[in-house]
């Protein structure tokens, strides 16, 4: 497991960011940055060299779907793995996120096992690319 990966966790609820951060730390990742919506996340992504983005969908300002689309539209960020961690459960939404290029979709409430499983899958695909 590569524990020096750089994560950006985006969620407007600070409790959720803290939960995800704790889980990532339990999995051995320590380089974790937080943002509270797409508008604050995007400049961080453009300036930093993040390895993976974990984002909520429903946020004031720029929602997660728009952030995902902005990432995919940016030549420098286009290949960044994006895991959507959200309570949005409409089929239409999941299809839209997949078409926009989401790498993984975890529905809230979620378990630590599910998060690890999806991260492992994303990181395996990233390593194979």
């Amino acid at each position: 497991m590569s524990s020096n990966l750089k994560f950006l966790v985006v969620d407007d609820f600070s409790t959720m960011r803290r939960i995800v951060k704790n889980l990532l730390q339990e999995l051995g990742y320590s380089d974790i940055t937080e943002a509270d919506d797409g508008n604050t996340a995007l400049p961080l992504l453009k300036d930093g060299s993040f390895d993976i983005l974990i984002t909520d969908w429903n946020m004031p300002g720029m929602p997660g779907l728009d952030l995902l689309k902005a990432v995919r539209a940016d030549a420098k960020l286009a290949k960044l793995p994006v895991l959507m961690l959200t309570a949005e459960a409409k089929r239409e939404q999941i299809v839209e996120a997949a078409q926009a290029g989401v790498s993984g979709y975890v529905i809230k409430p979620f378990t630590a096992v599910t998060l690890k499983e999806k991260l492992d899958k994303i990181l395996a695909a990233r390593a194979a690319a």
């Binding site: 409790t15 803290r18 939960i19 429903n58 997660g64 459960a89 409409k90 939404q93 809230k108």
Partner: protein, 248 residues
């Protein structure tokens, strides 16, 4: 329906119109036309005034009975403050719980590491040696083994406690959508009060979309409220995404 005697009062005007038309008298025709219009207005105006007065008094009565002033003035704004306060309290409680979870982690690690080290030392010492047996009473060894097992159990409980704080995000999103609704209700009530007081009111500016905007995010599913075709859980999502990937 208009009664016969109501229609009779137009007969003379229509006759004047006909006569002007037959005689090619444009000025006379216009005059007869205006006079017909005035006759019609004098029937309509009192009716319009009566309707306006009825609507105004119904609105004033509704305003009083529905306590619009109190609702718009403080009860609805107070409801918004209460909901905001609930989000703040649950946020603080969840963070306090997370503080304690984070503080417990190292304590459990220390207990686990200490018991494992002592047990390893016991295993290195010859338990059949009477000196070692005197130093390591059986009860102490059982306690250390128990501590090591319990540490692992506690670690998994702490992990569940951490995950359970996710309720604050879910409930917070639901409450936030209710707060947006209360905001709009407050604006609508404010306008109703103005109308009931006889003020002219400009059109309402909608804040919430008339239909939920799923691109912006609709928040968590709530039992009994349908948001359309929703997945039943993570397995359903995984199946949907696999299906899409296979169909590419």
């Amino acid at each position: 329906m208009t009664k016969v005697h109501d229609v009779e009062r137009f007969r003379a005007h229509v006759a004047a119109l006909n006569s002007a038309l037959d005689g090619g008298d444009a000025t006379g025709f216009c005059r007869a036309f205006d006079s017909l219009g005035a006759e019609m207005d004098c029937g309509l105006l009192p009716e319009l005034k009566r309707l306006t007065a009825t609507a105004q008094s119904a609105l004033a009565r509704f305003s009083a009975e529905a306590r619009l002033d109190a609702l718009a003035g403080h009860e609805v704004p107070d409801a918004r403050k209460r909901l905001t306060h609930v989000v703040k309290l649950t946020d603080e409680a969840a963070h306090r719980t997370l503080d304690l979870v984070e503080l417990c982690g190292p304590l459990i690690e220390e207990a686990s590491r200490g018991s494992s080290q002592l047990l390893a030392a016991w295993e290195r010492a010859d338990s059949r040696n009477p000196e070692a047996a005197a130093m390591w009473p059986g009860r102490a060894v059982v306690f250390l083994e128990r501590t090591r097992t319990d540490s692992s159990t506690l670690r998994s409980y702490l992990s569940e406690l951490l995950m359970a704080q996710g309720y604050q995000d879910i409930t917070g999103q639901i409450i936030r959508s209710v707060i947006a609704l209360v905001d709009e209700l407050e604006r609508v009530l404010g306008k109703l009060v103005q109308i009931a007081e006889g003020h002219e009111v400009t059109s309402l500016v909608r804040v919430l979309p008339s239909t939920p905007d799923w691109q912006q995010g609709m928040g968590p599913q709530v039992e009994g409220i349908s948001n359309g075709d929703a997945v039943s859980g993570q397995d359903d999502i995984d199946a949907l995404l696999s299906q899409m990937a296979a169909g590419k």
